[in-house]
Structure formats: C-alpha cells, structure tokens
C-alpha cells in the first residue's frame, strides 16, 4: 500500500515535469498551426525553422556567446581562485563575500545597471555588450565551483611538487591544475548554461537588431508564437537530454571501475 502510494506520487511528479515538454514536442510535429489540436504529422515547422534566417542568427548568437563567455569567465574565475589562495584569510573572506553578492542580486537589477553602465560610457549596444554582460555574471559561478578544489590538500600537493624540485610553473601545471580540473569543468558548464538560459540581462544589454533564442521567443510571443519555435525547443531539449545521458553513463562506468 505504502509502496503503491509512493510510486503514484513519483509518477505524478514526473508527469508535472515532463508532460508540458512532451506536449511541446508533439505540437512541433503538428501539421496545423494550432496550439491545441494535433491534426497530423509533418516536419513543416522544422523546415520553416531552418529556413528562418532570423531564428538561425539567434541560435548562432546564443551558442557563440555562451561558448565565448563561458571560456573567458572560466579563465578569469580560475585565475581569481588561484590568486585568492595566496591571500590572507581575512582578505579572502571579503573578496568571496563580494563574489557572492552578484549571484544573489536580482537579474533585473544587474541587467538595468549594466545597461546604464553601457549608456553612460556610450558603448554601442550589440553582440559585444551581451558578451561582456554574460562574462560578468558568469565569473562568480566559476569561482564558486573551482574554489572548493583549492583547499589545504591542493596546497600540500603544490608544496610536495616544489619539495621534489619542481618550479612553481611546473608544479602548478602538473599537480595543481589536474586537481582543479573537475571544478573548472563544472564551472564552465554552469557558465555555459547560465548564458544560454539568460533572458533578462540579455534583454537589457542587447540593443536593437540582435537577438538570442530567449529574446526572439519573447518578441514572437507578442505577435503570436509560431510552432517553428516549438521545433527549436524540441531540438534543444533532445540535445541536452542526450548530453546528460552520456555524462551519466560515463560516470557510472567510472564508478564501476573504481569499485573493481
């Protein structure tokens, strides 16, 4: 009885989570433009999607911005963590507190203040300003995910390498960097997803004439959303789902190897 109840509970939760996405996927293959009735299977909306330059540009913008901003933020954030490690604990705490504030800050505040900042400096808004904004809000997340890897143990390993005659550079490359790698990787992925996901900050810093996926969907909602965007959302979801699957299977395998 209890078991049955808990199964039902899980099924309900799953339905709430995945039913909407499933509906969206089904509608992306719909023949008609209807948002309610499925009239027949077709790939029309996928064709329209790939023929729409507006949407394709938005897709390219979204992913180039995500990759570049995540890469730059990862480099800056990792360098910050390494630098922090050499500081006195008190200074570290102050800087880490400053690091946390932008994450807690509402996106709307960050977005508007960045917009004002660009206006005051008379920077023309466009691709570069979005990129700059994304780098800015991603850095704290990278710091947060790399920082725990830079602990006492890492310090000791660095010292051990120096003790064995390594130069600071060599010790960093051969011993410290491999220790930080998992944090760097998850920091990069975090920054990447934050960038792809972002709407509000992008909206305030993008200026006219350029769109990302989130802003184009928003602008189309006003004039009536077309199912080609369902098709786009479906592709993005499937790609993310498959990527997640691969990562999970891989780490399962590693676990098995560790046990053996």
């Amino acid at each position: 009885m209890k078991k049955a109840l808990s199964s039902i509970y899980i099924i309900i939760i799953m339905l709430f989570l995945y039913l909407p996405i499933f509906a969206l996927m089904v509608l992306s293959f719909n023949e008609a433009k209807s948002m309610a009735v499925f009239t027949g299977f077709s790939l029309n909306w996928y064709v329209e999607l790939f023929n729409s330059r507006l949407i394709m540009y938005a897709v390219v913008n979204t992913f180039t911005i995500a990759i570049i901003s995540a890469t730059v933020a990862t480099i800056i954030g990792t360098a910050a963590v390494v630098g922090l490690d050499a500081m006195r604990p008190k200074t570290q705490n102050v800087i880490l507190a400053a690091n946390n504030i932008p994450m807690l800050n509402a996106d709307i505040v960050t977005g508007i203040s960045l917009m004002l900042f660009f206006l005051i400096l008379r920077v023309p808004q466009g691709y570069m300003t979005i990129l700059f904004a994304h780098i800015t809000f991603s850095i704290p997340y990278v710091v947060l995910s790399v920082r725990p890897r830079m602990n006492r143990k890492t310090d000791r390993l660095f010292e051990a390498a120096m003790d064995l005659g390594a130069s600071r550079k060599y010790a960093f490359r051969k011993v410290v960097l491999p220790e930080l790698r998992p944090g760097i990787l998850s920091g990069f992925l975090l920054a990447f997803t934050m960038s792809v996901d972002d709407f509000i900050i992008t909206y305030f810093t993008k200026g006219a004439g350029i769109n990302t996926i989130s802003t184009i969907i928003y602008s189309q909602v006003k004039i009536g959303i077309r199912p080609s965007l369902f098709a786009l959302s479906t592709i993005i979801f499937v790609v993310a789902f498959v990527a997640l699957l691969i990562v999970n299977i891989k780490s399962k395998k590693q676990e098995v190897e560790l046990v053996l």
Binding site: R156, L157, A160, M162, D163, L164, G165, S167, V175
Partner: protein, 361 residues
C-alpha cells in the same frame, strides 16, 4: 661528526601568535633527530622552516655552512615525507616516485631503474602501475618514502609519517624506517608527539613545548635525566615531587631524607627547593620498616608485564606510583627504597612551559 643543518635563533609568529621563539638547533651528518612535543608546540613549523615552506621572521637557517634562509624549497637538497603523504592522486605509483627525477632531467632508463630500486627498498616490488587510491595507508606511507628517497637527498624531513597508521603497523614501520636510514646513510629529521616512538628510533631527541626547546639529548639522557618537570612528565609516567636539598647529595622529600648523587657540583645548594623525579619502576619494594619510607597499597592494576600500584606514604600522605613485576595486595603495608642514582633532581620551573602538563582526565 660534521654539522649539517643549523637553526640560528629562529623566531616565527602567525599574526599575534608566537609559535617559535629564538629557537636554535644543530643537526649533525647522519643523525636521526626527533622533534618531540605536544600538539601545537611548533614541530611542523620548525620542519617547514627547514624545508623552505615557511620563512622565519628572525634568525637564519644554515645547510652545510651555507645560509639557505631565502632559498626556495626546490633548491634545497632535502626532501620531505608529509604528514598526510601528499601523494599526487592523478598519477600512478611509478609516476609519483619518478616525479623528482623527471624534474631534474634524468634519462628514462635511469628513472626506470631508480623507481624499481626504490620500490624494492620499501618492500613494494612491482607496484609501479597501481593507482594511489588502491593503496592502504601503510602502502601510501611507503610510497611517500620512496618518492622522497629516490632523489638521494642528504636530509629527509619526516612529519609524523606514522601518525595515521594503527599501532601494530606503526611499530612495524618504526623498524623499517630505522633499517632504511641505516641502508641509505642519510640524515633524518623526524617529528612526532609519540614519546615511545621518539625514544626507540632516535640518536637525538629534542623535546619542545610552546615553541621552546626544553631539552635535547640521547634517548637515555632524556629518559633518565629530565631537566625539568615538563620533560619528565612528557616522557613517561613519573612521580614528580617537590623537595628540598638538606646538604650535598641529600634531599628531603615529603618528610623523608633520600641520599642522591646530585649536589653542589650540579648547582643545588643546601636549603634550595627543588623538584624531584622518581620513575615508578625505580621504587623498590622491601618488607615493612626496612626501606627508606613506609606506605600502604591503596590500588593495584595489572598492565601486561607488570603491576601498577598507588601507595600512600605514612609520612607526608603522598600517593606514589609504583611498578613492580611481583603481585602485592591492596591494604598491604610495605617499605620502599630508591637507589641514589635513580633520584633525579631538577630546578624548580621558572617559566610556564617548563612545568608538567595539566592532566585533563
């Protein structure tokens, strides 16, 4: 013996906290020196200053007569076995051991032979391709040793290398370490807070407390002739009792006069208050009335080879700790005798760090 390392008036503070205060120490070639002291007394800090990981606020460090105080760790001819081994987790055993040789640009063949030799030396033949995570604590400890000694350092620094091992393995490794040291013929500077470890392994023991050296000497000297109450107490169970010199080579303790071998020659003048150390195994049991003083056994426990007893003396009402191979009964009245050479006279402590530690039972 030639001098190898000399610490000259080293002081070191972390913020407000003074960890080392004008510490001076000389280590000779081929010595096994142990820094012994309670947790937080500055042992690791001393070792880190020798290794180059910490710079002293004041004082100099000499290696082979040369001032190396400002030399970074990678330019010092010594290697360290770290407290938690600090093995590189993403390299296998062979790569860990080869690290130092690779850095110094040795040939592949040389490195291969040397790694093999080092693994043999620590009894882990054929472990080259194992992962660090697959090793037990004792094996990791040996790999840490191997990684340090392949570089043929003149001095090996060891920071509580056996601290994480269980008792039996620890005793085994103590023998291993002494054997290794003999085979390699290099100098060991060893840190521990375990007095037994220090006494069994070392040529010289340096007892530290609160950043000061309390006494340095051979294990026998430290055990038999502690210079102050702290050392006597830290080195083992002891009776530490206040007394007073009556005259040359006669001391009064708790109303009883004991002949001893110290006197004016050692700077103890008649009438001077002193502290006296008597080891529990040095109090001999005689029939009642036939010793120097009498008492009644108030408790007894068997601890392995011998019995440990508390005896309340008739004069002075003091509880003496005794160890004896023969069994006696609680309530029995006995006489007690101590040979003059087993009475260790010490000056009264002038500073806090020379006092016996407060027991927190």
């Amino acid at each position: 013996m030639a001098e190898l390392i000399r610490l000259d008036n080293i002081s070191k503070s972390f913020g407000e906290q003074e960890v080392l205060d004008e510490l001076s120490l000389t280590v000779y070639e081929n010595e096994f020196v142990t820094l012994l002291g309670p947790s937080g007394c500055g042992k690791t800090t001393t070792l880190r200053i020798i290794g180059g990981f910490e710079t002293p606020d004041k004082g100099r460090v000499y290696f082979d007569g040369q001032d190396i105080t400002d030399l970074p760790p990678n330019q010092r001819h010594l290697n360290t076995v770290f407290q938690n081994y600090a093995l590189f987790p993403h390299m296998n055993v062979g790569e860990n051991i080869a690290f130092g040789l690779k850095v110094s640009g040795k040939s592949d063949q040389y490195i291969k032979d040397k790694v093999k030799y080092a693994l043999n030396l620590v009894n882990l033949k054929g472990f080259e391709n194992r992962q660090i995570t697959e090793l037990s604590g004792g094996q990791q400890q040996r790999i840490a040793m191997a990684r340090a000694i392949v570089n043929e350092p003149r001095v090996l620094l060891l920071d509580e290398p056996l601290g994480a091992l269980d008792l039996k393995l620890r005793q085994e490794m103590q023998y291993e370490l002494v054997r290794l040291k003999k085979e390699l013929g290099i100098t060991f500077i060893y840190v521990t807070h375990d007095q037994e470890e220090a006494l069994t392994m070392s040529d010289k023991v340096v007892v530290m407390n609160n950043g000061y050296i309390q006494q340095e000497g051979t294990p026998e000297q430290i055990y038999n002739e502690p210079e102050n109450a702290f050392v006597a107490d830290f080195i083992g169970d002891s009776n530490i009792v206040p007394g007073r010199m009556i005259k040359d080579k006669l001391v009064e303790i708790k109303g009883t006069e004991f002949p001893c071998i110290d006197g004016s020659a050692e700077g103890f003048e008649p009438g001077q208050p002193v502290d006296v150390v008597i080891r529990p195994e040095d109090i001999e049991i005689r029939p009642y009335g036939e010793g120097l003083f009498n008492g009644e056994i108030i408790s007894k426990i068997f601890i392995g080879v011998h019995y440990e007893m508390l005896v309340k003396s008739e004069k002075g009402n003091f509880e003496w700790l005794l160890q004896n191979y023969d069994e006696h009964h609680v309530g029995q009245k006995i006489g007690m005798y101590v040979r003059p050479e087993n009475i260790q006279i010490m000056k009264k402590p002038e500073f806090d760090d020379e006092k016996a530690m407060e027991l927190d039972l």
